[in-house]
């Protein structure tokens, strides 16, 4: 059986988004599945991030 070139990523927070981006860059088709209406997860709620206290947007 030939190998599939697609991967499912479950959860669209910072980890899920990064995984999906890297997999796409590596040559795979990605299904990014998120139950909410937008991706970003908790990180999108953060004002600034430590240790440098910048926004990382």
């Amino acid at each position: 059986m030939s190998q599939s070139g697609a991967i499912m990523v479950l959860g669209g927070g910072v980890a899920g988004v990064q995984t999906a981006l890297d997999l796409a860059d590596l040559g795979y088709y990605v299904y990014l599945v998120e139950k909410k209406a937008s991706i970003g997860g908790v990180m999108a709620q953060l004002d600034k991030t430590f240790p440098t206290n910048d926004c990382s947007l």
């Binding site: 190998q3 070139g5 980890a15 990064q18 890297d22 937008s38 997860g41 600034k48 206290n53």
Partner: protein, 898 residues
Amino acid sequence: MYCPKVVVDTYNERLDITSATHIDYAQAIPASYYIDAKECLRLNYETCNLCAQTCTAKAIDFSQKPKKLKLDVGAVVLTPGFGKVDDSVLEKFGYGKYPDVVTSYEFERLTCASGPTEGHVVRLSDHREPKKIAFLQCVGSRDETCGNGYCSTVCCMYALKEASVAKEHDPDLDVTIFFMDVRTQGKGFDEARKRAVEKYGINVVRARVPRVDEIDGRLGLTWVTDDGKSHSGIFDMVVLSVGLDAPEDAQKIADIAKIELNNYEFCQTTPGQPLATSRDGIYVAGAFQGPKDIPESVTQASGVAAMASELLAEGRNTRTVTLTYPDEDTALEAEEPRIGVFVCHCGVNIAGTVDVKAVRDYAGTLPNVVLYEDTLYSCSQDALKTIAGKIKENRLNRVVIAACSPRTHEPLFQETLRSVGLNPALIEMANIRDQCAWVHAQEPEAATEKSKDLVRMAAAKARLLEPLEQPTVDVTPSALVIGGGASGMGAALSIAEQGYKCVLVEKSDKLGGNLARLTWTMDGQDAAKVLKDLTSRVKKNKNIEVLLETEVEAISGYVGNFSTTVSREGKTEIINHGVVVLATGGKEYKPNTYLYGENNRVLTQLELEQKLKRGKSFLKGANNIVMIQCVGSRGDDMSHCSKLCCTQAVKNALKLKEAKPDATVYILYRDIRTFGFYEDLYREARKQGVQFIRYTLDRKPEVLKAGRGIKVRVYDSLIGEDIDIPANLLVLSTGIAPGENEALAKIIKAPLTSDGFFLEAHAKLRPVEVAVDGVYLCGLAHGPKSLEECMAQAKAAAAKAVIPLAKGRVAVAPIVSRVNQDTCIGCGICESLCPFKAIEIVKVGKKRKAQTITASCKGCGICASHCPTLAISMGGFTDDAIMAQIHAFAGDNCGEEA
């Protein structure tokens, strides 16, 4: 917008309201409205339908039903994040009862400029600014009564951050943080903690506050410090530093995916394979694998990408879709400029301050502008489609977008240009949001004037924009991994299993690095097994060539085409490769204090492990064993925290108790940093009777000779005096020092941190990349960390390293310099000034001429501004374009206005 149903805004932690039809937050992706099905009147009560009727785009269709999709995938990655601690846990601290007790999530929204109070911290009870705030740590963490025995890892640091931000808003604010232990063990965190505490004067109290009471509309706290004394204080506001729980639906995910969870309902993994679940082909990353911060989540995310890529190496590029663009309309591009100006409202972000319509109409008066429009959200998918349509319809050949920052959004609009057959260089953005509307909110007229000026300058530049080639260079499809420890082997294996050749160079005579000195992994398993597994797989893999006793002498080239000189047995060899992974490791710190090296009863933790491995006979008569933490770390020699010594000490204390149950083990510590699930080990050690005694920097323990033996003197704050412990064995937790990184850093031109570790390109978003393209980083070379983290990082570095190899070509930004060979006089000034070695002098015929090495050039323009004959021009930033912007800035004042 017409939705009549008011609902609480969960993005703002219920501190604000929105409607059932809403966009989660201003930068949400996708930034389209959606209907909250739980709240919608139409879906729940079959009334209303207002939105569907008013939507001019007819985008609302209530007849849609949920659909089941079947996806054919070769691997699954679980990144469900973390859940929230149950409110019942928070109620103990008065949450829900007293309005001024808030969670750290709520406080985050209060300090945020886009939050419900626009960044003003106020009490929710009376909307007045608090004067005294207390942060309570470990709410829902390190607390078996709520079932969360683990440490949530991130709360100490985020509390310090939130406290700093609050102090920045109001310097007179009095902030106290109540810690059990201050756990700021991440890279650069301890330094950040020190800065925050010193700069902002944040009070640090090591005590657990059991409850919160209301006293005359304020909040009363009582706590007991290490010395046994009881204290109390009154605060205006209490912030609960809420821990990270397992995701709410963890059990459901586990059932569906058929994977195992640990006893806290997080995903079960091992230190050697931290990203693998119990089922093949299903991987895990982020907080579901265990509580962790952003850099580690991002690292693991890249790491699982590598895992999936290893598994599905044959399937690579079989399902991807290649974007195709229409051919460039070069004839249109060459015509007289036809500029379209799009002025963005960005909702109220711009339009709330700047008179967008006035700016739009002003744009219409500028030369060569043939179309001027305003858009609500230019970056939204439908707006981009509209813009694309308008470009075609009006045959535009230059575009000005007056909106936000080109740093974040230019690529998006460049895509739009490409999609309609225009060169992506033919766009210019005017930043009227980040650098205008947002920062001049109180001066709408001045902001509107500034916006007009910025648009005029952008249009002036746009007139002179020229199409730029999109150069790419071929990639040598192999990697060089420097360092043969666990991280280096992990990275090499992953790269090899993803299908690429890899050379692994190690300067010593064997593979293994620090792992070879370790006896047990953090979960008490045999470290030698992990090592053996790694080394045998490395040796077996046909894609890996191992070079022992080999040192790197020089690296030249750039991403895709590096050429490295190594020396081996006195001979030099050249290796060509496309990418580099730095895995040079670190080393155990060797102290010259506490009689180390003088008395054979004094060992380091690693030395203890090695002794224990050989047998327990040396423990005969060792009734008192003392461990001292932070020897070297967090001090004068090394300012950083070595992150793993606390857990290592606790692990070894347990091994000692196992080998000799009647021995008393003392651990003298400053903060016990057994973060994450390692907290279980700490609790177990306390249960087993290991004695933990906290010391402070001003009263460090002393080690004294006592006859043939030694004794350790330490101040016991509970009894308020020094106690002497006769120690049969003294074990020093000496931490991790950086390896000899300076030479390599110079060769690669990669920066080091002040502690001597390699500096990543971005602390959070690019944790395994180095500022030099094509160079990646993992393991102790990056900073102290456990084997588990090293392995995840090795995978992550491998994923990043394979990206250019898998693509086969790397794109080069077209903003590079170009030398006009006719006017160049070959003086070489540019060559000597270029910070990236990206311009060189070559012989053209008989003359010396400068030539840009396109792949290395970063477009900084030093060469252009220093060229005596003005022979160098910069793509997208030509002299003429910048001069045009200057003239446009001057407007009527300048005689040379075009």
